[in-house]
Symmetry: C2
Subunit: 463 residues, 2 copies
Amino acid sequence: MAAMNTNNLGTSTISSLSSAFLAPTSFNSRARSVPVRVKRIGVIKCVAAPQQEQTVYQTNVSRNANMAKLQAGYLFPEIARRRAAHLQKYPNAQVISLGIGDTTEPIPEVITSAMAKRCLGLSTLEGYSGYGAEQGEKLLRAAIASTFYSNLGIEEDDIFVSDGAKCDISRLQLLFGSNVKMAVQDPSYPAYVDSSVIMGQTGQFQKDVQKYGNIEYMRCTPENGFFPDLSTVARTDIIFFCSPNNPTGAAANRDQLTQLVKFAKENGSIIVFDSAYAMYMSDDNPRTIFEIPGAKEVAIETSSFSKYAGFTGVRLGWTVVPKQLLFSDGFPVAKDFNRIVCTCFNGASNIPQAGGLACLSPEGLKAMQEVIGFYKENTKIIVDTFNSLGFKVYGGANAPYVWVHFPGRSSWDVFSEILEKTHVVTTPGSGFGPGGEGFIRVSAFGHRKNVLEACRRFKELYR
Amino acid sequence: MAAMNTNNLGTSTISSLSSAFLAPTSFNSRARSVPVRVKRIGVIKCVAAPQQEQTVYQTNVSRNANMAKLQAGYLFPEIARRRAAHLQKYPNAQVISLGIGDTTEPIPEVITSAMAKRCLGLSTLEGYSGYGAEQGEKLLRAAIASTFYSNLGIEEDDIFVSDGAKCDISRLQLLFGSNVKMAVQDPSYPAYVDSSVIMGQTGQFQKDVQKYGNIEYMRCTPENGFFPDLSTVARTDIIFFCSPNNPTGAAANRDQLTQLVKFAKENGSIIVFDSAYAMYMSDDNPRTIFEIPGAKEVAIETSSFSKYAGFTGVRLGWTVVPKQLLFSDGFPVAKDFNRIVCTCFNGASNIPQAGGLACLSPEGLKAMQEVIGFYKENTKIIVDTFNSLGFKVYGGANAPYVWVHFPGRSSWDVFSEILEKTHVVTTPGSGFGPGGEGFIRVSAFGHRKNVLEACRRFKELYR
């Protein structure tokens, strides 16, 4: 234990843009550099230089050891921090962000007008509603079931409406608890691994291999078509699987998903299938894991309106927990998930739910398809650009992400080179796991003129 | 391990209204009644009567033992279930709910029009926004700081905007992890205890005392003025404290909260102060724990727009984690909470945030005060009614809850008696902990005519 200089503390800002969050190690080491013995309880005094003489109180509550395992900041706040630092260095730079996968196009009016109507209705006796069902509004659950899972045996009461897939991933971790082992695609969306670390499912981070202990990393590379060689994957309780994939853009085909379900069944594992990009699929691959026979007995699916309707800030998603999915003692997983949803959550905001319902009307579906079509055109522009420059490019066809290979180079170096020389923010592949090293992810979310301008700059840099 | 009759499974509905959720014990015992040995992996067959012959697959993932500790359902879904059962029994009954504390009055137009405007703006290039800051919009954080914590040294960056206090309570539990011990007021809002059980901080439920192991229950009774005798309270890491209190309606005064902060400081504990009802305060008690000198070094505060602006369905709250609050190793609690918020949450919906900002405008504050004033009139009607009937009545002055004593009787019996004979839904005190036995909580949230009618029926039943 060590006392800290309160002057440092006073200036630290709690924000995802703050570099202080990204350097817990250096923060600790700064603390260690002041060798003052601290009483376990009560007010203590710094014995530093006079101008720093202030009292610091520390509680006697131990920091959660799992939190201390986390490496640096969550990926996307780190990128936001580097972007901010870049803007400080080049205040007049026309920075273009193809980094964090944030939607940019306005939400179709058929959807926002339904939300506005719900808002105004809340000021009337007839339109007012208080607490909704924690699982979501009945009409929306039914619309999700019939739109995305028609004829697949998924019913309205299997659907849990949420404030987004990322939030549900953590609620699923809470449901599973700390005594499970998980597998992830490598590379993968970092919330799977980070939430597993927070729940105490993992060991320490191993710097040499850039992996946490007690997580099975399923390597996805160009060589295996971004589908893991399951014969080399150890049995785990939980398998996180995202298709179409973030970040690689790869979508698993029917045969591959059939293999995955078979693998889960043989091992008695539960798949958490992330289908947040399913509507971006061009090829004839399954849009949901529940297209695979038997999946209801081994899979949960989580999805989101974020990338379909521009709801990244509106916050609306869902998770499917089929009643056929059972723990080893026969207890239905859905009953425990329902308990989590009722105890740790209070349902998605009613206004976004009105928006979700509008999304799934015939007009809403058409409007969403148009937005998705727009981003898919962006994707093609980016793919064509990197192809024309001679890069190996993956993804793009079934997802709004382009996965560009820079063999032999560090992802963060490439990220920095692109940012420094073109003022374009991308995402370093290694941020998604060691399997992403040597790649960068270019997001297709952006205004057309920005995407075209970014591609012009890419051509200038790499031609 | 046991196989289950799939016919039973097929008819169970995943909903908070479903009784199946409320009887995990009987569910298990039903499972045990079919003595079939199950292979650990793979498809198995029931050997029950021919018409039940179906295959059931069970994964090999163990159910989280902490989830299995939870008793029955979360309180409020249980009440909703009993209400539904009552309606089935009396289809024509004019049921009045003074049970779950759900707001009923329309949201003032100054607030909903701001939300509607934000909605429609999302369809424009200028008004569109994607991912917001996970911690909340800067303007809203600043408005919360200046409205509720002016001159108390709480700054904008100490405020984390959320989708409600209940959700933040679970995020705080995730932050603390499983190796802490907590204290709660007894009785108290059940989310504190239930989230602690889910996180694995507790032992099993002890039926004889109606308490979980490894939780410190701080008894709050009429005799001690609903403030615990701290000289008998064991040291814990975390102290959940709600004032004005749900369910007793009692508010701690300045002297009591000073004692509480001193107690926390001497023990090196962290207080999680729930101030969700602070705007209902009539007396000159602190509205926030941060009015107590030194509280910033030992306390977190969580609060909500739900009961001020009728946002129970809109979902908006906040949590204050002062940068002065440190773990025993000197690491700021706020930095870990920020990491939780960035990894396990993605910020509150942008539309409710526009509403929150409108709430804190001069017109919005005035409108909220009018809604609160209305519910306070309801409270007085309920208090006067039970007083006139000769009951000992607590709460009501500083909170929208009336805590009525039925000495020597079971809370659930009184709940059932009132429901059966008056068709009014209340909340049994024992649902908030063993210290609530013999009480019922009557919520003041309701249309005036319903509150008057409920009171008329109470007078008929108990005169």
